[in-house]
Symmetry: D2
Subunit: 347 residues, 4 copies
């Protein structure tokens, strides 16, 4: 296979970014942009050589030079579109969340497995230089054992009419945690709180308290109403603590050789506690300045060519949904902690 | 009364700050420092003219030139010491938390009321230029109606052997909220989560989700294990949003003329929502660079002289305790939301 | 004229940005990319519908549907290429610096004037939302009289083999000053210092001290060797001071209602000076997040269509060169201040 | 000698800081505060046990328990006061600048040497944890050879009636450079520019371009008129570059393992230069949070006790003056570079 022929389905908010990255990628061929509003699709194709616009999905799926479709439509349509594409023999890259329900996601995964085709989630952040670095730092054991995670993603965001802020924004945090945390620290329980102070009909401010295997915890704060933008994740370990500030382009990641040590010393009346502090240096790695979505397309190409499983396959999207559905249950029951049993990768 | 004679009880962590501010205040006379370890008291008095050290509280309370005592001992001792001082006719300034339990605090308040003496809480932050400004901004209605509050206070902190991180740090956030929020937005319910990933025997990471009257919410994140220090509070209103970053000395407060408007327009299929955004200017007020604790001493002097009730009287400390006790209940019951009925100021 | 047909000459560092912005602009038609290395041009055209690659400038200039050429080649070739294009009846957009010498620039301006064609400098920063705002703030008199300007542009930069850091980077600062300062504060003298501590054969660190009409001054610091990137400009006025931090995306511009007042009071032995301070609020305007180069293309379109003179015409580029040549003289004579008499716009 | 008895001369701007640090230092005994206005001195002594106020210098110098005087009066009075104190057998700590002229400083140094007494400059910054760290980093060769230094110290400052901004602020930068740069990179020449845009009668904005031995350069920008406070120093070396941001309490020092390498490769037509870039990690050392002036008093104590020569002896103050006098010459001659031959330490 020379170039991988790709069609983008959905010309709304995220579609143009997919179109641009497919058009500029040397290994891909942008064949179609498909949207129920043909004019929206045409606005995206007119600039690029060789790309056609359509509102007819059949036309796309009938094109033998289309090897994969990238689906960027509302979540409610994901399952139907993805299954139709897989059935037509196309590989699928799908926006987060993978589907509107756990049941749908499980069906999509099964169809892809049966067809021997790739179902890949566009968990874009997982392909950013920052998250790649975080994953490798944790894998190498530089942080020691993970003690706590705190993720904040607040912004003046587009209040959605169909989903709450947890379903809209937390998939970013949850997919990142899914990607970087070791299996021994997988999520086991979720307590969610949320509020809708503007009467939007949806929670606009949300908090997730996640229990992790082994007694650690993670917390996620998402908020559509904050005029200051904050995107930070703190991952505290027994040896070091990593701070990721995605809005600080000159120093996105800082690794603090600092922490709290639980001493073995006997209790001492004078000492207020047997815990001591390490105050060491801070190191910030040099990171490349590449666009994450460009690496997503590279990963899709590698998967389509059979070189490797995508790092964010369908099951990673399923696990995000499992946590989101549990958070719905928690919200409905006054914030009580709800157990989750996450699906495992079948590799 | 010429100068107000003051004795500081407790020469531990916070005592030296009280001693210094009393010694330098032109309206006060530092008469005694009292600590069970006389040497600790002497280290503080030796520098200052006229101050004496003792380990004998009676000596202090028998001194007719002592008009007020400032108590900076462990919380468990507050009630006994304060009641002894009040009974001896001394006004009392007391560290946070006001006492170890709601019951103790209620008794202290009653004793002070009976004696006609001042019982003032050293809610230091409430006397900082930043919090004073926040209070006046909210009072003047500049933010509009309060929609949400998010407070983060994380740090590599001294893990305590007797109290968890919520009791140690959240009194700061709770006393500030008590001070700046209007009564119509008082706390009505608390859900708390916490974790102890280092096996300290106490929660080292804690989150409070507070329900406020009228459907708004506030969230408090406190953490002893974070090597990055964060002290921010975001107060979102219908008209403007205020961001307080206490660690940014050049711009502690920013007021964003930005927000989300809930339009009255009819639903529109094309529009994703009927909500629109205001992106206006940001304004940062010029604030004086004065030490909050110096203003605390000024307030104590004014109260002792009968000029006015202290802005942070005993009842404000009681309300903080009521929320903390409810958070304990919530922690014990898996994070469930617990109703609180806060005490009202009796003015 | 329907769409403005544009050819981009030069497919090196800046060319791709021009190509992309021309391709995406709804009012322009990307007709050609021309480079002495055809392969470089082809890499840029292959993605875009309707664009052709060539190494033959004549082919471009013979195309009657090319209305304007955008020249992004080394400065030494600017004059020859621009004059050839103007002679062929094409409007010209040219990278900074406009030419390799004042003499060349004057000739280019004369040729354009004779032909009645636009010669526009791509002083990109002048079309950024920040510089547009700065210009309007100064025009409206918000800063009062300009007292001083301090511009810092330091970075780990590409050490050039043919020009020093002043010729490489200072055109940005000088073109911005040319754009925002009123004529009564035009540059009248230049003192330059520079050093080449790495033996690059060119000054890698440079400083310009500019005398402004009326006794004010401006200073420009440019540096290729700094691993920290700084891009700030401070414009101090009698009423307010503006700080532009181009690397702070959340608050690029801050206007300080602060300053120093020269009182009229009689000398006072006690007072150390008759000067007082105003400490007022800081305001940060909301700025759109648009790409400056997109507005450059819009401006070229408007000029080609005869709607208005471009805001950065050839004479603005000439003035930048006059200052750079004077800085060369100053460097050669040990940093002595050299007078300059800037060309005036002929409008 | 048990405690070192100290008198502070001058109760103006800096005096109170000296008084406080002497009073709290366990090795010193605050004996006197002397000011021509007795009331000013009394305001400082009244708080502290054992300290007396006076306007009579003789009373101070006649006190056999005064071992050293700390002089914080206007620079014009330094020489006379210091010589009087030295003649009376007292060690001297003196504020920057050491004197009003090179001649005076030389005389003071000679008198101290003859009397075998300490003459120490209060170059406070040199005792800060940051500058101590910078000095050790350079001494250990971590930066490699020093290529350039850029120091910025701008602020809304107190416009002085007697000295310009260079004499007021640059002594900080010059004393730091004197302290941290190796002798092989000592200052050899000064070019100064300045402006007085507010008609204060003194330069309020100043720039120093310093030639260093071996062809490197340093630049100092000082400014009284900037409402934004900046205090940064960049020290670029062949191996690493250090950035000191004194206003960033959480990360004052960053060491960039980045830089520009001058390759030995043959010229290449395609490559724009034979220079390449290293983009490595950034490291921030953990620094103690101690007050510099406290370490100044410790150093004075050690010198008075004969334990070691002070790190900032009289000659370091003399060298600062030599550069300042050369800057005056440069200012008077239109910014021309003026050679300086710095005094050497006589150790």
């Amino acid at each position: 296979m020379d170039k991988v022929g790709i069609a983008v389905i959905g010309a709304g908010y995220w579609g143009p970014n997919l179109v641009r990255n497919v058009a500029f990628n040397p290994s891909t061929d942008l064949r179609w942009v498909c949207d129920i509003q043909t004019a929206s699709a045409e606005r995206l194709t007119s600039t690029f050589a060789g790309a056609r616009a359509t509102s007819d999905l059949r036309q796309v799926l009938d094109d033998p030079d289309v090897h994969a479709v990238a689906i960027a439509t509302p979540a409610a349509t994901h399952a139907e579109l993805a299954i139709e594409a897989l059935t037509a023999g196309k590989h699928v890259l799908i926006e987060k969340p993978i589907a509107a329900s756990v049941g749908e996601a499980e069906k999509m995964i099964a169809v892809a497995a049966d067809a021997g085709l790739t179902l890949m989630c566009d968990h874009t952040y997982c392909y950013s230089p920052s998250v790649r670095h975080i994953r490798s730092v944790i894998e190498q054991g530089d942080l020691g054992d993970i003690l706590f995670v705190d993720s904040v993603r607040i912004n003046l965001g587009l209040v959605q009419s169909d989903v709450n802020v947890l379903w809209d924004l937390a998939p970013h945090d949850l997919s990142i945690l899914d990607h970087v945390l070791p299996t021994e620290r997988a999520v086991t329980a979720v307590a969610a709180t949320g509020s809708d102070p503007i009467g939007a009909g949806q929670e606009c401010v949300g908090h997730l308290s996640l229990g992790l295997r082994g007694g650690s915890s993670a917390h996620v704060h998402v908020n559509w109403l904050s005029p200051t933008k904050v995107r930070t994740m703190i991952i505290g370990g027994t040896d070091r603590t990593l701070v990721w500030d995605d809005l600080n382009p000159t120093q996105r990641i800082s690794i603090f050789d600092r922490g709290v040590d639980l001493g073995s010393a006997a209790d001492d009346v004078v000492q207020r506690s047997r815990i001591s502090y390490r105050i060491g240096d801070v190191t910030s790695p040099a990171l490349p300045d590449t666009e994450a979505l460009s690496a997503v397309i590279d990963e899709l190409v590698a998967a389509v060519r059979g070189e490797r499983e995508p790092r964010t396959g369908g099951t990673s999207g399923l696990r995000v949904l499992q946590i989101l559905e549990a958070s719905d249950t928690s919200l409905r029951t006054g914030g009580v902690s709800v157990d989750v049993m996450l699906a495992e990768d079948q590799r």
